[in-house]
């Protein structure tokens, strides 16, 4: 399938569609019509897909096993195509690990869900006097302005929530959609486009009054969001959300075995989300976050991993990696896998693992980063990092920024004028970019 024709449509169909919609939309002041070159999707555009493991995944059972330790748990390490071993519950991923790398020396200190979510997403410790942007907003801010033909939001979060664009402004807020890809209230119903224009024209008059009333930037942010919403209602790029246009086999590959928490269970949700992420990236969206929850495993950790979480995770990562490679996109799309923290090596009385941020793993790959490598090392029981350097989220995101071509000396300004270093001044991990 050629990547120039998006989402399974023929180019001819796409152009016809454009012409038809252009004819029904008369000269409009507010609605930007679909640009003729929108079909020229640029497969060399850089992007990042963040796989966010909400709740805190036990990386000791996934990426950094300790079979000799009392903390080791039920799973065994297996060989991979990369230089490392990973969990025997991740066989499909093991076969693509030559493309992906592990950082096994994360040590991030925030072990509260809210604080960890904030720290890993923003690279900054929570601070009540300033709201930092999630890194998706940073990427959106840096890359979206250069993508004039992008009509859908430049930071899309599938199944996620609770993230803020902070001082980068509401236009870089994540656009939330669930794994169904259904976006409510995009249809005008029986309202004609003439009526919509009349409405928007009247709206502009009232909004202007409030914008000029010395009440901060609330008013203008609202106007900008409405512009984006109107653009989105009219855009053919909305097709990217419709994963049902994909072949059944593709969806199945992403979702794994339905009998093991697959297509109908959590696996279906993760697989569908990842597939949607690939379509969105293909449409030019620079940052997509896929939220996969259910990791807050204070009890019954091994059964849940074995029967629900890991089959879905394994299928999803393996299918996405293979799909991106096959489409020639892998070297432009960075994959990041992390949660707010990981889980205690010690297994508690309920056969669960609790919150733990002292030593854990993050997975990175694609975007031209080196694959198959392991960075850092934990001790024999997984309780602490023993390699000389520990890594913070700032280092992970600096590595991503490097791969996306965002200069690391970029500085943003908080709303009260404080300079904020990109990724909190983190440095790109040399072994991965070298």
């Amino acid at each position: 399938m050629s990547l120039i024709t998006p989402f399974g449509m023929s180019r001819r169909h796409f152009v016809t569609h454009l012409a038809a919609s252009a004819a029904t939309i008369p000269a409009m002041n507010f609605i930007s019509h679909v640009k003729a070159h929108a079909a020229e999707l640029n497969k060399k555009q850089k992007a990042c897909i963040l796989m966010w493991m909400s709740g805190g995944p036990p990386t000791i059972d996934i990426w950094d096993l300790k079979p000799e330790s009392k903390n080791g748990g039920e799973f065994k390490p297996i060989k991979t195509r990369g230089s490392m071993q990973i969990s025997d519950q991740m066989p499909k991923t093991a076969a693509v690990m030559d493309n992906l790398s592990l950082i096994r020396s994360m040590s991030t200190r925030e072990a509260d869900h809210g604080r960890g979510r904030y720290y890993m997403h923003t690279t900054f410790i929570p601070n009540p006097t300033v709201v930092h942007p999630a890194f998706g907003s940073v990427v959106s801010y840096e890359l979206a302005s250069k993508r004039n033909n992008l009509e859908i939001p430049s930071f899309i979060s599938i199944g996620g929530g609770g993230l803020s664009p902070g001082y980068l402004g509401m236009t870089h807020a994540p656009f939330l959609v669930d794994a169904s890809g259904r976006i409510n209230n995009t249809e005008l119903g029986d309202v004609s486009s003439e009526r919509l224009n009349q409405r928007l024209s009247m709206l502009a008059t009232v909004e202007e009054n409030f914008i000029r009333s010395d009440r901060g930037d609330f008013g203008s942010a609202h106007r900008d969001i409405y512009k984006k919403a109107v653009n989105l209602m009219q855009s053919k790029q909305m097709e990217a959300f419709k994963i049902d246009q994909e072949k059944k086999e593709v969806l199945e590959a992403y979702s794994g075995n339905p009998a093991r928490g697959g297509a109908m269970g959590g696996g279906g949700q993760f697989g569908r989300s990842l597939l949607m992420a690939r379509r969105l990236v293909e449409a030019g969206v620079p940052f997509v976050e896929v939220d996969f929850g259910g990791w807050d495993l204070h009890a019954n950790v091994f059964d849940t991993l074995k029967n629900q979480r890991l089959p879905a995770l394994d299928a999803g990562i393996a299918a996405l990696t293979a799909d991106l490679k096959q489409r020639g996109m892998f070297n432009d799309v960075v994959l990041v896998w992390m949660g707010e923290f990981a889980r205690t090596p010690r297994i508690n009385q309920d056969v669960g693992r609790d919150h733990f941020a002292n030593s854990w793993s993050v997975m990175l790959g694609g975007g031209g980063l080196k694959g198959g490598l392991t960075i850092g090392e934990t001790d024999k029981d997984g309780l602490s990092v023993v390699s000389s350097k520990i890594y913070q989220p700032g280092d992970v995101w600096a590595t991503v920024a490097h791969a996306l071509g965002i200069p690391l000396d970029t500085v943003h300004k908080s709303k009260n004028g404080r300079p904020m270093k990109l990724a909190n001044g983190g440095t790109a991990i040399q072994e991965l970019i070298g």
Binding site: G161, N185, T186, R199, M202, N209, G216, H222
Partner: protein, 552 residues
Amino acid sequence: MSRSLKRTSLAFGIRLAAITLMLLLDGFVWSTFARATGENSRPSPADAIIEEINTQIRQTWKDNEVEPSAVADDAEWMRRVYLDVVGHIPSLEDVEKFLADKDKSKRKKLVERLIDDPGYTRNWTTIWTNLCIGQQTPRRVSREGMQKFFREAFGKNRPWNEIVFDLVTAEGHYEENGATNYLLAQMQDQDDGVQVTAKTTRLFMGMQVQCTQCHDHPYNDWKQDQFWQFNSFFRQTGKVDHRRFDTKAGRMVDDYSEIVQREFSGPVYFEKRNGLMKVAYPNYLGTQVEPDSSTNRRQELARLMTLGDRPMIAVAYVNRTWAHFFGFGFTNPIDDISTHVPVTHPALFDRLSDEFVKSGYDGKQLIRWIALSEPYNLTSRSAKKNSQDNPAIGETALFTHVYVKPLTAEQLYDSLIVATNAHKSGRSGWEKSESKRQEWLEQFVRTFGTDDGSESTSFDGTIPQALTMMNGALVRDAVSVKPGSHLHDLLAGRGNDVQKIQRLYLTALGRQPTKPELVATQKFLNENADPLTVFQDLFWALLNCNEFIFNH
């Protein structure tokens, strides 16, 4: 004046002029404010506390060399006080009546009317239900039960200390004793009361101790053993999820849940970071409680929490209520009152907390003090001499103007109901809308599925919210001109086009249109063959605009 200026040095002259101007401005602002709120020269006891708020806030204006914005006009203030006290915008009738009222004490009278309005009970029930059990009802929790408890509490204006006492000590069936739902919502996991410990200290006492579960707090004074001492008060709390046989379905289904008293005595055990096990006995901020089985620990905890001249539950409630009206509290965040978080107005914070206790924990009295204070009666427009007073970007709140707040999803929903007259159709408009409202609200809520029960909302000023307003059923109905709808009645009613435009503005925004706004609408009416669509689309624009979606 000019002669004296010539005789003195220029610098001194400028300073003198500045001081004179400040005094003049003070006098001007004060007299305008006094006129607007109907304050007279003989203060009542309530006025003395309002005066205290005004004095202390003014002092920080002086200290920081800022000046307050002008007093809000009646239209601006009225919309704000409705949204804050009863949770929705005023109806057209109420707006017209209030704006025409020449009574000098009409603001005071409106506050009195609003705190006795059924909307007051409904609004504060919504707020505290959301705080106690979340926007998305957790498993095995009765939202109706929780609402029933708060409806009675706020309806009867029960003292806050009694409300807290009931929530902490609740036992029994979750609908018969609705207070139990607070505990049930924090008992989603079998976690030895960890979540209920973290939530109770944070919500009712303004103390964030959740991190001390695993280690001593890096900044504040809480130690890990204190977390577990506090936690030990909840260890006699049990939860029973009853099931029953459904004869129709032919299987067991969920029935009610219940909080019961369990047998528990002695210490709780916890693990230090270095792996050492330690013990903790029930101890409330230094006061020890008998750990044997004859003690009802939650009764003891509730008694200690509500004891004294300035207990944390009073301080936290004052802070939260202040922040509800002003957008920012005396601390930021409002639920972290500890030595490492600066307080904007320490003396005022203490005084209000003390007076709240002395008033008998009277929530309505606290609202009177705040809503009739000078800072709350200012406009939300910033002025040249206070533009740096912007706590949204991390500056210390000085309350020189009222800060803009986005409407909550509930406020928006209820305001749309008022603007479209839906609450007047049918016998029990509000009650009937309660479940519809909950359904509408839940589309925005997402839970993280984590043990702390955290959730987030997509009703946050982003695109989904804009799409809901532009194309969703609520606004579509509002502009549909169905018989009985507000728009229908307004257009069928008296008056010419100009008056109808004015009444639409008053309905949605609580104010008259400006000249350019009026002219712009008239132009549409002149150019459009179908004037009805112009009125419909104007109403659409007014309900969709920034001014509608913000409380300012």
